[in-house]
């Protein structure tokens, strides 16, 4: 049990911290949360700055254009960028955390050369075309079909919850290439250009008021067979690779942000007198213990993944289950601190309270995560 960082790791942290101190003031002003083109420009500009400084694709393998950093260095990166108030991956989320790592792991040399550098440079943005209107958590029951026609697939169907679809250049798309096969087989993973004829995007307005994601309709969209990553009908396995990255690393930096928010809650409560309420004070104290433990659990998971060459393990499900609920409790406590001010939608914590509602649903609902923990870690039988 060693929680000290090596000299090399501390040197990495110091270099990064120094770079952040000079670079962050150069960022343009933050765009309005509802302005998606503005958000894309802001997020990709930040990605370009990272690229120029040698921090792009930090944890990607070197032969994929990444830096080949260790999981611990990636942890330090997330900690320091969050502490410095640097932008999160934002619109680059799918490219950097889903599609990119998947192509790096499963793509051909040509595919890696075509798609990975623009992700790292912030030139191209990806979205995720996995979920379908009637599928939900039963992702494998997807129905969007792709029929081979010469050297193209002809695709028809509908997708939903497609994050960043409005501003994306590419979509990581799951399609059914063999309708006769059992539902987990017969699926293929395709890279679809978003400007292909037949692609229609209709933004969905969330309860938080913003258009985070969209419905996407595909009407005889032609995608070259060369855009398929992995073998035909082997897309489910490729997808599992993607999802293990999603659960393993997607939320790490947010724990640091939550701890910062908790400190700000305490400061506000002391200023407005709410701190004198022992029930609220103890509630904030409990959350402090909770987020400290979640940070330690993160370090544990990173240490475990270090031993498996950086592939995130099943510990991601344990973390996500607890974190998604803790985040919701954090913003419930924030509303108590704010009192009547919590009705002000322009208050950052009110917006975050609303968006926190998605955490127990997105990327596998809490109920699905509990099944994963019960069946894959505890070995309980599959059932109903």
């Amino acid at each position: 049990m060693d929680l000290t960082y090596t000299e090399e790791e501390e040197a990495f942290r110091a270099r990064l911290r120094a770079w952040l101190a000079v670079s962050l003031p150069e960022l343009p002003p933050k765009p309005d949360p509802l302005d998606w083109p503005g958000r894309r420009a802001y997020d990709t500009a930040w990605q370009r700055m990272l690229y120029d400084a040698g921090y792009a694709g930090l944890h990607w393998p070197v032969d994929a254009g990444g830096q080949g950093a260790t999981p611990t260095q990636h942890l330090i990166y997330l900690e320091e960028t969050e502490r410095a108030g640097a932008p999160y991956v934002g619109a680059n989320f799918v490219g950097l955390l889903h599609a990119g790592p998947t192509i790096a792991a499963e793509g051909t040399a040509e595919q890696r050369a075509r798609w990975l550098p623009p992700v790292l440079r912030g030139d191209e943005v990806w979205c995720q075309g996995f979920s379908e209107p009637d599928a939900g958590s039963d992702l494998a029951s997807l129905r969007t079909k792709a029929v081979r026609d010469g050297d193209s697939y002809v695709i028809s169907g509908a997708k939903i919850w497609t994050s960043h679809a409005e501003v994306a250049d590419w979509c990581e798309l799951l399609v059914r290439t063999d309708p006769g096969a059992p539902k987990h087989r017969g699926i293929s993973w395709l890279a679809m250009p978003m400007d292909a004829p037949g692609v229609t995007v209709r933004p969905l307005r969330t309860l938080a008021g913003s258009a985070e994601f969209a419905e996407m309709f595909l009407d005889e969209v032609r995608v070259p067979v060369a855009n398929r990553v992995g073998e035909e009908n082997d897309g489910w396995r490729v997808t599992m690779v993607t999802l293990s990255f999603e659960r393993g690393t997607a939320f790490v930096g947010e724990v640091v942000a939550c701890r910062r928010t908790l400190g700000e809650l305490a400061r506000t409560a002391r200023r407005n007198g709410r701190w004198d309420d022992p029930v609220l004070r103890r509630r904030l104290g409990r959350l402090n213990a909770e987020f400290s433990a979640l940070w330690r659990l993160t370090q544990w998971n990173v240490s475990e993944s270090q031993s498996t060459g950086g592939v995130p393990g099943i510990g991601g499900s344990v973390f996500k289950l607890r974190y998604s609920h803790a985040r919701q409790e954090l913003y419930e406590a924030a509303a108590e601190v704010l009192g009547p001010d919590a009705v002000d939608l322009d208050h950052e914590w009110t917006a975050d309270r609303l968006s926190s509602l998605s955490y127990t649903i997105a990327a596998g609902t809490s109920q699905i995560q509990q099944n994963i923990v019960a069946e894959r870690i505890l070995g309980l039988p599959k059932g109903r």
Binding site: M1, T6, G263, A266, G285, N288, W300, V318, L378
Partner: protein, 307 residues
């Protein structure tokens, strides 16, 4: 940074687990219940010989010379096995009270449970903590102590004289108690999962039903979150982290025992199942050293002082 256990730490943990499995298995546990939790002096000496109490005493003083992380692993195993006796107090007394390190002296602590002393009748010595320093008292110095009927069949308790103060939070005592809670939480998770795989209802193991499955999943989540907190606090020795670790380990031990009881169904409510022994001990330990309210206030203070 590598938070995982070292090879030596894993070996220590499995060594303690084997020792306890051999010396304090199910029969010995139920025998201890029948004895109303009195200390098995022979076992106490064997623990002493194995270095359980002298684990952190320097080698120059006849100890094993290990640190708080190793002690936490040993106490986690004691918590798993539901080993009874004033283990934490005797461990803390090694190097202070003659015979404690070797297991020849049974030492309890008079200031960890707010006016109550566990294992008072068995103890050769009762430590009293004033501020941060120990004072040695003998049971004969506390004539007004009266036995109460203890809820936990493995922990006899006396109500002590009113001149015994409540101790300020003692970091190591608090953390080692949290480690016992962690071990108990892990054990009840295993028991629930094993039972859910074996017990059939409606033609299938009850562990196939989501309602049961989700109880078990939450037990594991509570255990692993508490484990991260307890292990990290053992490495840093930081009082705020220790308070947080106690809070989460108490919650994991108590709630896991309750969920385990639920998974066992009617069997869980019988004296025959061991679940109630875990729950009662977990409730008792949750009152020791730091309560939830005190831990939360320490956390709140840490938040406020960081401003």
């Amino acid at each position: 940074m590598d938070f995982r256990l070292t090879g030596d730490q894993r070996a220590l943990r499995s060594g303690v687990r084997e020792l306890l499995a051999g010396r304090f298995g199910r029969d010995a546990l139920r025998a201890a219940v029948d004895r109303e939790g009195t200390v098995d002096r022979e076992l106490w000496r064997q623990l002493g010989e194995a270095g359980f109490f002298a684990l952190r005493l320097p080698e120059a003083e006849g100890g094993v010379g290990l640190g708080l992380p190793e002690a936490v692993l040993a106490f986690e195993e004691a918590g798993r096995a539901l080993l009874n006796g004033p283990l934490v107090a005797t461990h803390l007394a090694a190097g202070i009270v003659p015979g404690a390190a070797e297991g020849g002296t049974v030492v309890t602590c008079a200031t960890q449970l707010r006016g109550h002393i566990p294992h008072f009748a068995d103890a050769d010595v009762a430590l009293v903590l004033y501020d941060r320093s120990w004072r040695v008292r003998y049971p004969k110095d506390l004539p007004s102590a009266r036995a109460v009927r203890s809820m936990d069949p493995l922990t006899p308790v006396h109500r002590s004289s009113p001149d015994i103060p409540t101790a300020p939070p003692h970091p190591d005592g608090t953390l080692l108690t949290a480690a016992e809670q962690l071990g108990s939480a892990a054990r009840t998770t295993e028991a629930a999962v094993q039972y859910a795989k074996e017990r059939q209802q409606f033609g299938q193991p009850v562990g196939g039903f989501q309602a049961v499955k989700h109880l078990c999943a939450q037990m594991l989540v509570r255990t692993e979150v508490a484990r991260s907190a307890v292990y990290a606090a053992a490495v840093t020795g930081d009082l705020t982290e220790i308070a947080g670790a106690k809070l989460l380990a108490d919650e994991a031990a108590v709630r896991n025992a309750r969920d385990c009881l639920q998974v066992y169904g009617g069997m869980g409510f019988t004296w025959e199942a061991d679940v109630h022994l875990h729950l009662k001990r977990a409730w008792l330990r949750a009152q020791m050293w730091l309560t939830a309210a005190e831990s939360e206030e320490i956390q709140a203070d840490a938040l406020a002082s960081a401003l």
